[in-house]
Amino acid sequence: MTATVQVPTDEAEERGRPTLPIASGRETGRVFWRLILGNRWLAAGSVLASIAASVAAVLVPILLGRVVDLVVDQGSSSDLVRLVAAIAVAGLCAGVLTAVSRYLVSRLGAEVCADLREDVMEKALRMDSARLEAAGAATLRPGSPRTSIGSRRRFASPPTSSQPW
């Protein structure tokens, strides 16, 4: 699997120092999908686990609403205990599923990053050296921690949905 990032760019040469060509959005998307498909089971697993974790997290406020209804209707205390137990179970499920989904999503991110940086490195080592040096070898340091760690973090922490109240 080789990530081909080749798109002819005319503007690059105009800006004094030549730069490496920048792939179009479509090209980037294609490479992205190829990388994801390379890890399809991991990708599917992380999507499923994330959905399940969200469902478990949403269950908690729904059950809290039930508790309010119960109090308004002056229900029995055994019903209250059942609801509270359900809340605790939903919390447990949310915890386990969040851990699993977090692990799978970050693992997917790390695998994809590793595949990508190895592809880029291989490509760089085999590309025309004058061109690479013209752009400055430093622009192309795929193992550069900022790139790998940065992407890992972005994968690892989706924006946390803050509680509406």
């Binding site: 309010v68 809340i87 919390g91 291989e122 085999r126 193992g143 921690p145 900022r146």
Partner: protein, 525 residues
């Protein structure tokens, strides 16, 4: 927010008062507006603080690595790069953690206060329960920190391999090592991936545990407040406020837990940045100013040298010839200060080199090593060592012309704006060597030490450089030492010192020394 909604339910919904409802809706809207604006302003301040701090830390680390005697470190260049680039940012995120932890604590305090007013037993329970939960999660911190440190280390190694391979790309292609290079990078990349997995497992467990404890907290609070509401001890509005606050509590509690987790990451990074900033200098830095005078090596013993004595007085141009590479290396490194003699002394103007302040020493003495490093995008930028080329000004451009002619830069000097690729890689070896020589001559230091300055140029150019160099450096009381086995260069030196078996075995002019068979063999290869 939960308080406001609880109040709205008690005052407006429960009483079905339309005007109260309208006021409530506007009030809730205003509250949201304040929340958003406060978040936005806070984010701006924190980001700015973080990036400025990271910049300061980066500059400090780079200054420590580059200036003075440098630092003692076992880390590879790539690792130093990753530390200055990414660890300084991660360490600076500590600022955000402080602000976030403070915000979370204030949120908790207000919540606890409100809960205490509604029902003291619930408030007290939460105030005791939450610290226990956070402390429990805190215990997981060191595990995450250890894993993260391992991961950062592995990421640094991968970066180091990548930068080594890219830097040596041409030779790598030359001997057909690309496939092996790709294989090695693959191996380090996978090691890095393995370490990342470890860190991720730890962080996922941590997040899961904190989500679960929050759920448990909500369940317990709901059980008690639901029970009290059924008994009529608290109103429906208060129940909603309490349950809402319990759900809201997850935010500051998770926030605190996340702070603990991020603290582990930041600390691992900060430790690495601190290691660079606090690293001992590679050599002791002296404080004496550099004084004019002779360059003297007395009975120096060091690997490659065995009791070397050498004295170069101002105005002299001395050649040091030796067939032994360790001896030449030892001499170069002793003068640059990378190495200290086991015994004996190296001094300039009567002061031991180790006692001279580095800035002052660099102003007086320049050592041009054999390995050429060119910095800058054009020939002009490479030649400029910080004092400016002053092109156009009479004296400035004359200096440039003289240095450029002495180094036989020839065709390259016609256009100082000639563009260079990364580290001058579009120049030939000989051109690079000549540019470096011109740079050294242009810096015009009272003491100049050149190590094999003409190994990569042809015989005609070598002859021309020998003439240019000696003409430029022979006037006044400048000291010039040429460590070389090049006959044209040595022939132009006022005195040649022949070093064999780590000590001076003969002194004289090149022609005089040529009568010795061992000298002739060393220089006429």
């Amino acid at each position: 927010m939960p308080v406001a909604i609880g109040t709205v339910i008690d005052r407006a919904v429960a009483t079905s008062d339309l005007s109260a409802m309208a006021v409530s809706v506007i009030a809730v809207f205003g509250l949201f507006l304040v929340l958003t604006m406060a978040w936005r302003t806070g984010f701006w301040f924190l980001s700015r603080g973080t990036y400025e701090e990271a910049h300061l830390m980066r500059m400090e680390a780079v200054r420590r690595i580059l200036t003075g005697a440098g630092i003692q470190t076992d880390r590879q260049t790539g690792e130093l790069l990753s530390i200055t680039a990414s660890d300084s940012l991660a360490a600076a995120e500590l600022i955000q953690l402080g602000a976030r932890a403070a915000a979370a604590l204030v949120g908790l305090a207000v919540t606890a206060g409100i809960l205490l007013r509604i029902d003291w037993s619930l408030g007290l329970g939460l105030m005791l329960g939450i610290p226990i939960l956070v402390l429990g999660l805190n215990a997981l911190g060191p595990i995450v920190e250890r894993r993260t440190a391992a991961q950062q280390q592995a990421a640094g190694l991968a970066a180091a391999t990548a930068s080594d391979l890219l830097a040596g790309l041409r030779p790598l292609r030359g001997f057909g090592g690309v496939t092996e290079g790709v294989r090695r990078y693959h191996t380090t990349s996978r090691t890095s991936l393995g370490a990342t997995m470890g860190a991720m497992k730890a962080s996922a467990t941590f997040v899961g545990a904190s989500t679960f404890t929050t759920g448990l907290l909500v369940a317990v609070v709901t059980a008690f407040s639901g029970w009290y509401a059924l008994q009529g001890r608290i109103t429906i509005g208060e129940l909603i406020t309490i349950v809402g606050l319990a759900a809201f509590l997850s935010d500051p509690v998770l926030g605190l837990a996340d702070c603990v987790f991020q603290l582990a990451i930041s600390r691992a990074s900060a430790a690495r940045v601190a290691e660079i900033i606090e690293a001992p200098p590679r050599a002791e830095i002296g404080s004496e100013p550099a004084r004019p005078g002779a360059l003297v090596l007395r009975d120096v013993v060091s690997p490659g040298l065995d009791g070397l004595c050498l004295e170069v007085s101002p105005g002299e141009l001395v050649g040091v010839a030796s067939s032994s590479i360790p001896a030449a290396d030892a001499l170069t490194e002793l003068l640059t200060g990378e190495r200290h003699p086991h015994s004996g002394s190296v001094s300039l103007g009567g002061t031991d080199l180790a006692e001279i302040d580095h800035g002052s020493l660099r102003q007086r003495m320049l050592i041009e090593p054999h390995a050429v490093h060119l910095f800058g995008d054009t020939i002009g930028a490479v030649l400029d060592t910080g004092e400016g080329l002053d092109a156009g000004e009479g004296s400035g451009s004359e200096r440039v012309t003289a240095a450029v002619r002495a180094a036989a830069l020839g065709e390259l000097a016609d256009n100082l704006d000639h563009e260079l690729l990364d580290h001058g890689s579009n120049l030939s070896g000989g051109q690079r060597q000549r540019v470096a020589l011109a740079r050294a001559l242009l810096a015009d230091r009272p003491v100049l030490v050149l190590r094999d300055p003409t190994t990569a140029v042809d015989a005609v150019t070598e002859q021309s450089i020998a003439h240019g160099l000696t003409d430029l450096r022979c006037g006044g009381d400048q000291i010039t030492v040429v460590i070389s086995t090049s006959p044209p260069l040595l022939a132009r030196c006022s005195r040649v010192v022949f070093v064999e078996h780590g000590r001076v075995v003969a002194t004289g002019t090149h022609t005089e020394l040529l009568t010795r068979s061992d000298y002739a063999e060393a220089v006429l290869r």
